[in-house]
């Protein structure tokens, strides 16, 4: 059995090892390793990716140098992003997508022509979509001099990606995001954890809430009402969390 960690390099190594050794990859149920003898488990941490690529090329006489090209990096980026998803089947999807990339070509996989390529793209785009949405939907509260705090509603492991995006917008601020899992902050492009209790007092109502609500309502043209379109842009799962959610509910 081949054991891997949940990162892109380890997954790639596991895939190549499975091809070279003919062993199975342990995609789910890590606990069942207890039943295997220690020397029956191959750990990807003991191998170097470059060596495995060379071995694979020598053994199968196939050029897979595209893994180090622009397109290869795009695939790696897509895998890394998909791994932030909460889906239980993400590892299986990644391995099947890799199979498509190696057998039918990198473009076939990346453009989503295969079923698994499509699933990989879907996982990746859901994660990216959360980052993009949060860039717009998060509302900050001032928390002292040059510090902004917010409490986002996240479904995937995207907190550090969101913080990095916000750092470009507020380069001289400390940005703090408080979630159920804890609080993370960024300042001077440095990510770190902070105590959420300290920032909770700043998350109370802001006088600008009312300003925003008044402005939001002033922009609505009732003659063009189209709540289905709105719900496709702001999914209902965010309506209880977002300030304008209650206005949308009243319009339902």
């Amino acid at each position: 059995m081949i054991r891997f960690s949940s990162n892109c390099d380890s997954l790639l190594k596991a895939y190549l090892l499975s091809k070279l050794t003919g062993d199975q990859i342990l995609t789910e149920g890590g606990d069942s390793l207890l039943f295997f003898r220690e020397d029956a488990v191959i750990d990807t941490e003991n191998y170097i990716l470059e060596d495995l690529i060379t071995q694979y090329q020598d053994y199968f006489l196939r050029n897979i140098r595209w893994l180090s090209s622009f397109k290869g990096n795009e695939l790696k980026y897509r895998i890394s992003t998909a791994l932030r998803h909460t889906s239980q089947h993400k590892h299986t999807v990644v391995f099947k997508a890799l199979e498509d990339a190696f057998s039918k070509g990198i473009h076939y996989c990346l453009e989503g022509a295969s079923e698994h390529g499509k699933q990989l793209r879907h996982l990746c785009s859901e994660v990216q979509h959360e980052v993009y949405r949060m860039m717009g939907f998060i509302r900050f509260r001032p928390a002292g001099e040059k510090c902004l705090v917010a409490s986002p509603k996240l479904y995937y492991d995207t907190i550090d990606l969101i913080l990095r995006e916000f750092q470009n917008r507020y380069p001289y601020h400390r940005i703090v995001l408080v979630t159920e899992a804890g609080a993370r902050a960024i300042e001077d492009k440095r990510l770190f954890s902070v105590d959420p209790v300290f920032y909770e007092k700043f998350l109370a109502d802001d006088s600008f809430d009312q300003v925003w609500e008044e402005y939001y309502q002033s922009q609505y043209i009732p003659a063009r009402k189209n709540l289905r379109l709105t719900a496709s842009k702001i999914p209902k799962k965010y309506w209880d969390w977002m300030q304008e959610g209650k206005i949308l509910r009243n319009e339902e």
Partner: protein, 393 residues
């Protein structure tokens, strides 16, 4: 905090459609704010429109008499004006809290165009230089604005725009007696186009009111085509006319939103699909067909061009296939380099609408749908009859 001014001037600006904040222009030494090539939407109103900017008027006092406009001089409404300092601070407070992505500033013509635009520019200067804001600003140029102000606006903004409202002089005269189409709208547009050559990164757009001046789609698209080819216009926006109480057009029926949608589809075909104006099919009244979209209409009227072979078609040919967009066409070209496409499912996985595309494509000469439909799209619509309403097959 008294929010009445914001409500009045926000509501007065809501009919301005543009909400894009995409920009590549960077302002050096910014202490807050940035732009992204994709833009960001911060919210959506119950009508489904994106709220990405603080979209307000500097003032809703206006000397013009546009028959459709809620701010026209003869209309009895509360009038108010932002002070530059006040608006700049409000904007920065909202931006810091991440409610908005940028500023969209327009105005009624208060006293004259020069003094109004001067106030608007003063606001932008405070935002750019005092607050060192590096994000997105869209400034609406007022009719008859002089070149010197346009030059300054181009320096301070990411996008500037002037609303043509109607496609030509005759149509504008139906909408307004005080606006001069050539002198106050086309001339500034020409100046904008000339000035923006010196300001790379700043773009310009315009907006048409659809259905208020009984204009046809052909007239609008002729004007749009001229603007894209001769004035370097980035984008045209269309706003379906809706009657406002207390205006001369209050009893006119509202324009169809589907018509607005068809105009947008045609506009996208011109900008991204390499369609030329001559490719559009208009009916006897010079309007686009409302029942079929312009691309499908083109395919039906040009059956000799279809079906195209998916593994050999050029980018141009693929772009003409209904259901295949520029992104999908490029994906097909990429995949074809290493792998021969064999099944419609592969296209479906790539995000292509098979329902629309399948009739117009073949896979190695094999067509997976009937192309007979192309000969008469309305002929093959069947209805299952039922003797009793409650009992059906």
């Amino acid at each position: 905090m008294d929010t009445r001014k914001l409500t009045i001037l926000g509501e007065a600006a809501k009919y301005d459609i543009c909400s894009s904040t995409a920009s590549t222009k960077q302002f050096g030494k910014a202490s807050i704010g940035n732009t992204l090539p994709s833009g960001i939407c911060h919210s959506f109103t119950p009508d489904g429109r994106c709220v990405s900017m603080l979209k307000v008027l500097m003032s809703n006092e206006c000397e013009k008499d546009c028959n459709y406009c809620p701010n026209r001089v003869q209309r009895d409404v509360l009038r108010t004006t932002f002070a530059p300092e006040e608006l700049a601070r409000l904007f920065m407070d909202m931006y810091e809290r991440n409610y908005i992505e940028g500023l969209f500033l327009s105005s009624g013509v208060r006293h004259n165009a020069a003094s109004t635009i001067e106030n608007m520019l003063k606001t932008l200067e405070i935002i750019r230089f005092r607050y060192r804001f590096g994000g997105y600003i869209h400034l609406k140029i007022l009719p008859g604005t002089e070149e010197q102000f346009i030059e300054r606006a181009a320096e301070l903004s990411n996008r500037i725009s002037i609303n043509l409202e109607a496609p030509n002089r005759d149509r504008l005269s139906i909408l307004s007696r005080t606006k001069d189409f050539d002198k106050e709208l086309v001339q500034p547009l020409r100046s904008i186009s000339k000035i923006l050559k010196r300001h790379p990164g700043t773009t310009h757009s315009t907006q048409f009111i659809v259905g208020a001046a009984q204009e046809s789609d052909k007239e609008i698209l002729t004007a749009v085509n001229r603007l894209y080819s001769g004035f370097d216009l980035k984008r045209a926006y269309f706003s379906a006319f809706y009657p406002v109480a207390g205006t001369p057009l209050q009893h006119m029926p509202p324009a169809s939103q589907l018509r607005e949608h068809r105009l947008y589809q045609s506009d996208f075909l011109m900008r991204f699909y390499q369609f030329r104006f001559q490719d559009f099919i208009f009916d006897e009244s010079s309007n686009l067909d409302l029942s079929l979209d312009p691309k499908l209409m083109y395919a039906i009227k040009n059956p000799q061009l279809f079906p195209v072979e998916i593994n050999r078609a050029t980018l141009d040919q693929l772009l003409r296939v209904p259901g295949i967009g520029p992104k999908s066409a490029r994906k097909i070209l990429q995949v074809r380099r290493q792998y021969k496409l064999r099944s419609p499912m592969e296209l479906k996985n790539m995000g292509i609408s098979l329902k629309r595309a399948q009739k117009f494509i073949t896979f190695d000469g094999k067509c997976f749908d009937s192309s007979r439909w192309l000969l008469d799209p309305n002929r093959y619509q069947y209805e299952q009859l039922s003797f009793f309403k409650e009992v059906s097959l």
